[in-house]
């Protein structure tokens, strides 16, 4: 069995050819340190400026509002810790949601140990935050709201514009983790009205180890890495020029091809969802039926457990995920699925399949066909399924 079907584009993506081509000159020829004043340095600085400019333009931001980081997690950490500590004199209250990425949740838990109070907003059955609860949670101690744009597990898109409006009215900074949004929904920081927004290159066919934080001009935030004067003295460290150049190219491609990308992945994703729901019983689609990441499908298959499902898929060459990649080492059921009200048992049978630019119709059909077989095999082994189907499933 040599067929390989990658359906884990929300975990990471292969780099596009055009991205690598753009990066190549910066490894060994134009290799200067962007802080050096000689020609090698200026060449690097120029590439850096162009990249920053491209990314700024792509999201309607100003050149000076884009700060490069080593990825999405670092940017989440910076945004939240940086704003929290810089505005400690104004208050110590932060509002976030129960379905954030761990790079937000674990930072909030850390801050709780350091004198901050955090409200974790509930979400409805589709994973949408409750705007009334948000409004009622804001106090005069609230300094930051952090709500993700697109959820990485169930794909649900939040009403970012509305949240930004509420935050603005109450004079509270608003950060949104847009790691899964970039390249999958249109983004304009001014139209949305957000104050901080972060991205990760490897989720949009760019290089791993690069990300960015958009910081609206005027936002009070602490520097993140102390040292050299890079990134306007807020994030020290020799700039990863090839990575940043590749990131900018990936953003450029993502924005240019946004419509065709969305159409492609949505069509295949819907084919997958239809095929699964039609051919398998006792399965539930998680996340919002319409307002969701165009490539995301998240199912719960009752009576079976996620890891054995993933392993079985892997044995036939299909790569999926149960929740986010970074928690796959953990035994707890997904905090996102718990937050939308699923029971432990059901949450355990979750499978995230995310479609991307290189996915084909054949990939989808093969996946549906294999899933039917695997789910059946695992259910035959399950003591839970037994109860439902009664004696008829005995061997």
């Amino acid at each position: 069995m040599n067929r390989k079907v990658y359906l884990d584009y929300s975990a990471t993506t292969p780099m596009k050819k055009e991205v690598l081509e753009e990066m190549m000159p910066y490894f060994s020829e134009k290799f200067g340190n962007a802080s050096s004043i000689h020609s090698f340095g200026r060449e690097a600085k120029k590439a850096l400026d162009i990249a920053r400019d491209k990314i700024a333009k792509a999201i309607g931001a100003d050149f000076k509002e884009i700060f490069f980081t080593s990825g999405g997690s670092e940017a989440d950490n910076w945004a939240i810790k940086g704003v929290a500590f810089a505005n400690r004199d104004k208050g110590n209250h932060i509002i976030t949601s129960k379905i954030e990425h761990h790079a937000v949740l674990h930072v909030c838990e850390y801050l709780e140990k350091h004198g901050f109070e955090v409200t974790y907003l509930d979400v409805d059955e589709y994973g949408v935050v409750d705007l009334e609860q948000l409004k009622n949670s804001i106090t005069d101690k609230t300094i930051l709201i952090s709500i993700m744009f697109v959820n990485n597990e169930i794909g649900t898109i939040q009403p970012i514009k509305e949240i930004a409006k509420i935050a603005k009215e109450r004079g509270v900074y608003f950060h949104t983790d847009a790691v899964q949004a970039l390249g999958n929904v249109p983004i304009d920081v001014n139209d949305l009205g957000v104050d901080l927004m972060n991205f990760s290159a490897h989720k949009i066919y760019g290089p791993k180890g690069v990300g960015a934080l958009y910081i609206r001009k005027g936002v009070k935030i602490h520097p993140h890495i102390h040292g050299g004067a890079q990134e306007r003295k807020k994030r020290a460290g020799t700039e990863n020029i090839p990575g940043i150049v590749g990131f900018a190219k990936a953003v450029e491609l993502a924005v240019e091809n946004l419509d065709s990308h969305i159409e492609h992945v949505r069509k295949l994703r819907d084919r997958l969802i239809d095929g699964v729901l039609k051919n398998i019983d006792y399965v539930r689609l998680n996340g919002h039926p319409e307002n969701r990441h165009p490539g995301n499908a998240n199912f719960c298959f009752e009576f079976i457990e996620g890891e054995s499902l993933l392993l079985s898929l892997d044995m036939v060459g299909i790569a999926g995920s149960s929740g986010s990649a970074c928690t796959s080492g953990s035994l707890d059921p997904s905090h996102v699925l718990m937050a939308i009200g699923l029971s432990h048992e059901i949450a355990h049978g979750s499978l995230r399949l995310t479609v991307g630019d290189f996915t084909t119709e054949e990939d989808i059909d093969y996946t549906i066909q294999q899933l039917v077989k695997i789910v059946d095999r695992l259910r035959q082994m399950s003591p839970l399924y037994e109860k439902v189907k009664g004696g008829q499933n005995n061997v």
Binding site: Y110, I304, N394
Partner: protein, 149 residues
């Protein structure tokens, strides 16, 4: 993450199913991970002549159930009671640290089925005197949380 032997028992589990009118049935579950394991024993003259299992669980849970059934089949009740999770892990040639608890589930499922057999037949089995048929197995082995904040 899993070795070949584990994957073999996961993909081709031995003794899956149920036994009608089993002489002993045991079901255990693990609260932390939510997995459930059910064992059926057919016992004649104190010897386990047949064994089947059903498991709702991770790859390791399925593989440990499978190998545990192989390890006790043909054994006497007294021998089967001595099955330890350690022996199960060894038979599988190792499990990832965070998956060792799954083997505890297998040991407990066997014991629960033997306990059920003892109850039904009003006998006591040496080594099972203190056994409590709990549905929740708590044992957990977390790898390196040494000095977390």
């Amino acid at each position: 993450m899993y070795n070949e032997k584990v994957m073999d028992h996961f993909m081709n589990p031995r003794n899956v199913g149920e036994i009608e009118n089993a002489d002993g049935v045991g079901q255990v579950g693990n609260v932390k991970c939510g997995d459930i394991m059910k064992m059926y024993l057919k016992i004649e003259d104190g010897v386990i002549v047949d064994v089947k299992f059903k498991t709702f669980g991770c790859g390791s849970a399925i593989a440990t159930s499978s190998i545990a059934t192989e390890m006790i089949k043909g054994k006497t009740v007294e021998e089967a009671v001595k099955l330890t999770n350690k022996a199960v892990v060894e038979a599988l040639e190792g499990l990832p640290a965070q998956k060792v608890h799954c083997s505890v589930l297998a040991e407990q499922a066997v014991k629960a089925a033997l306990y059920d057999y003892a109850q039904k037949n009003n006998i006591t089995i040496k080594g099972l005197e203190d056994f409590k048929p709990v549905e929740d197995v708590h044992e957990h082995h977390d790898e390196d949380d040494e000095d977390e904040e």
